[in-house]
Symmetry: C2
Subunit: 120 residues, 2 copies
DNA sequence: GTTTAACTCTTGCGACACAAGGTATGTTCA
DNA sequence: TGAACATACCTTGTGTCGCAAGAGTTAAAC
């Protein structure tokens, strides 16, 4: 029913690689990832997405994690990109390039100038 | 299990608008849409996608359809873009522009040169 | 008439983003 | 002290939608 979910569908299959891309610049903890993805825009709305996703990424060996407990701050679980993740990110870059290229091409198709309207 | 499905997820939310874009250049029937989307590349693999989708698009008022029965050919159901569909296609173009821009930006992030490895 | 291809459609499944809700820890401020 | 709040983590259930598989119909081919 809720049709606000248009962009939700677009995110499918993309959020994971985006996290990998983020992590390629350094380790981060969960909430931080949520915030940064939101800052980029249109990329994530909920923690309910990111935690299960991080688990899956870790299961797939694309990220690793370790707890960091300091006296001055809450315990946080930091995620880092693994070599596998780095390689898969590269593969995704190519996939995305091709895919978004195809979509872009199609979206630029010029509507037929004179649409022959069928008579009433 | 099947991991070939990586790009399947990417297609989510995109195939519908792509069909609208196709139809913006003229009416088409189902199988024809399948073929043309496949020709563009990475955009559709199965009729099991397109027919239910066309039903949804019609329910949403974005396309209309009519049967064309001629003596010389099999009966075909032709789909045409409606005004609603044309408007929604325009909206999607903007959504896609923003979304793919965000993803593209993220994917271009440069990995930190010297990854400070945490000591053991 | 039987086969084959073109065209239509349906069913069931799986992946995954998300909202909602739940727990634990630290900080703030009466 | 202790209530209230923010930060941080995680789980459960739901809905969407692309897809494989399969089925029915019509026309052409042999």
């Amino acid at each position: 029913m809720v049709e606000s979910a248009a962009s939700t569908q677009l995110r499918r299959g993309v959020v994971g690689p985006c996290i990998l891309a983020l992590l390629s610049t350094g380790p981060r903890f969960g909430l931080q990832i949520v915030r940064e993805l939101n800052d980029v825009g249109q990329l994530l709305t909920s923690q309910g997405t990111v935690y299960p996703l991080l688990s899956r990424l870790q299961e797939a060996g694309q990220v690793s994690s370790h707890w960091e407990v300091s006296d001055s701050e809450r315990p946080r679980r930091y995620y880092s990109l693994t070599d596998v993740g780095r390689r898969d990110l590269e593969l995704f870059r190519e996939d995305w390039r091709q895919f978004s290229g195809s979509v872009g091409t199609l979206l630029q198709t010029i509507p037929s100038a004179s649409t022959e309207s069928e008579q009433s």
